[in-house]
């Protein structure tokens, strides 16, 4: 339900805390958001939450004959999805989701976190199909407005938004899925602009996003060109108001030591292709030697799970 306007699980909300945060000293309880109310505080979770869970094919799709006994998987290979597996399907995040508020068709935080649970599962054989399905859907991974509302309310620290960002990272970085929603183009455009200039060159962001990251493609591909033309009135309004000068729109300064940014990109992006991630959900936030908790054998934390190729890397971790 919603307690004082904030989506929460009633069973783990302390009355005292709720009272302390109650405007005017009166606790306000309301039914969950983004779902039709059946009666009083009861909402139709089947019509929204469970329907969306079904949408992402929430079961394993392995290839070939099942093994005689169980599937054997290295425990490390599953660490990456433990966070999404912690979900208890309470729907609190769905209730709070700000994209769903304006687009009821958005697949939403719980279902997309569930989708990641299977995308990140080494036993699943349809990773790419799943990703391209979610990338191409106009109400899929690129419909999430990155508002943190789901992270804020989830009682199990699943951080659904982070799972969605992980889905995007796999879709663009690992599979290069050039979706029709410009998700690939937007990420590529932004990342490339910072590599080139160090700070954001906004007037290149739009055309490059529409052109799958390329300025030229944005002006020769009919679909990209159409979107660019549709965005022109906004650009013209910006120029007319004087906030954007034509010079600023065309020329963007590079940082004085831009070669340092290039070097950092080079060091991190080229290499063995492994991405280093630190998942605070897994390693905890203990500070000194926090990561060592992962592996008691390392003792002082000097070999914490943060070196590419070990437990803190892409397969083994992710951010909280």
């Amino acid at each position: 339900m919603r307690v004082n306007g904030k989506s929460a699980l009633a069973c783990n909300t302390q009355l005292g805390d709720a009272l302390a945060r109650a405007p005017g000293g009166e606790i306000v309880v309301e039914p969950m958001g983004n779902m039709p109310v059946l009666k009083d505080l009861i909402v139709d979770m089947d019509a929204v939450h469970w329907k969306k869970i079904q949408r992402v094919v929430p079961w394993l799709l392995p290839e070939g004959e099942p093994p005689e006994r169980e599937y054997i998987v290295e425990p490390e290979a599953m660490i990456d999805i433990t966070q999404s597996m912690a979900c208890i399907q309470c729907g609190v995040c769905v209730s709070a989701c700000l994209s769903m508020e304006v687009d009821p068709e958005f697949i939403g935080p719980a279902a997309l976190a569930k989708a990641y649970r299977f995308v990140g599962d080494p036993r699943d054989a349809h990773t790419e199909d799943r990703l391209s399905d979610l990338a191409e859907d106009p109400h899929g991974i690129y419909d999430c407005t990155h508002c943190f509302a789901c992270i804020e309310v989830c009682p199990k620290d699943v951080a659904p938004m982070n799972q969605i960002m992980r889905l995007r990272r796999h879709a663009t970085g690992d599979y290069g899925i050039k979706d029709r929603n410009n998700g690939y183009g937007h990420e590529k455009a932004f990342v490339d602009i910072i590599e080139r200039y160090g700070t954001l060159h906004e007037s290149q962001l739009l055309p490059r996003s529409y052109g799958q990251g390329s300025l030229i493609r944005s002006q020769v591909e009919p679909r990209a060109l159409k979107q660019l033309i549709e965005s022109l009135p906004t650009a013209v309004a910006g120029l007319r108001s004087g906030k954007v000068s034509p010079k600023a729109a065309l020329i963007h300064h590079k940082l004085p030591d831009q070669e340092q940014i290039r070097r950092i990109y080079h060091e991190i992006e080229t290499g063995d292709g492994e991405r280093l991630e630190l998942n605070l959900y897994i390693v905890g936030e203990e500070g000194e030697g926090g990561a060592a908790e992962q592996d008691p054998s390392t003792g002082d934390g000097s070999e914490a799970s943060t070196v590419p190729g070990e437990a803190g890397t892409e397969r083994g971790g992710a951010e909280q």
């Binding site: 407005t145 990420e187 700070t199 060159h201 600023a248 340092q260 060091e267 390693v283 803190g312």
Partner: protein, 298 residues
Amino acid sequence: MKVAYWPGCVSRGFTPELHGSMALVGPRLDLEMVELNRANCCGAGVIAEHNQELVDTLNARTFALAQQTGASMMNICSTCQGAQSECQQRLDADDAYREHINTHLEPEGLRYEKGGDWSNKNLLWLLVEEIGLDKLRERVVRPLDGLRVAPFYGCYIVRPTGRLGYDRFPHRDKYLEHVIETVGGTAVEYAGSHKCCGFPVITMAKATSLRQAGRHLADAIDADADCLVTPCPLCHLNLDLQQPDAAKYVERDLNIPVLHLPQMLGLAFGLDPKELGMDKHVVKTRDVQRKVAELAAA
């Protein structure tokens, strides 16, 4: 008070009136602002989506440059605040990880050190926690009496509370109201104040994006606001620059001006609206300017 000042990309790009108004307002708050001209983009959530190690390194670089000035850091963008706090949380949580990230900074002679009193705060936090509302009140020469201002925070500065220091400063989600009241205005309550402007998906899900912007603007209008005020230039882009388009998505007239936080302060400090760049908005700020001019005359 000396601060290492990170203006962000957008304040020097599509919202130059933010950078300009901050330059005017800073000295009036006794801020000595050492601008970080060599620092880089915070990544705005997009580089984090692409590669965590890269975004953590880029922001560690900015922090290291700030630490070289011997002062704490100030930003004027909710998105910078959130994106940088996310990286700082990871860098501070794990010594080995921080050391690894620092190896990428070594060739440039830079290094990010955890701890001490060093902090990175948005102007809004700085106003309340370091400068103090009393001092702010002292500097007001033209109280914005009768001006009804709808606060708009930006997601990155209100969520997730666990990362953004709400345990130490539990009222950070009320500061904008406090500041509005301190400079003499009336803070307007409406549904959208802590919601999302929709900017992050403007190129990917335009309807989702502009329906959000449009709805919050409409709610502010219905609550009788004269204008909105925001500490986030990205919110400003969706709420002001995109407002004519947003109106189409919510199928109603909008036309409500959106001020940057330093612009509102500047008005209360008696500065000329033109100097504060208030003519550089897409939605005209004439009515706000007229109201403020009447105040000056009174």
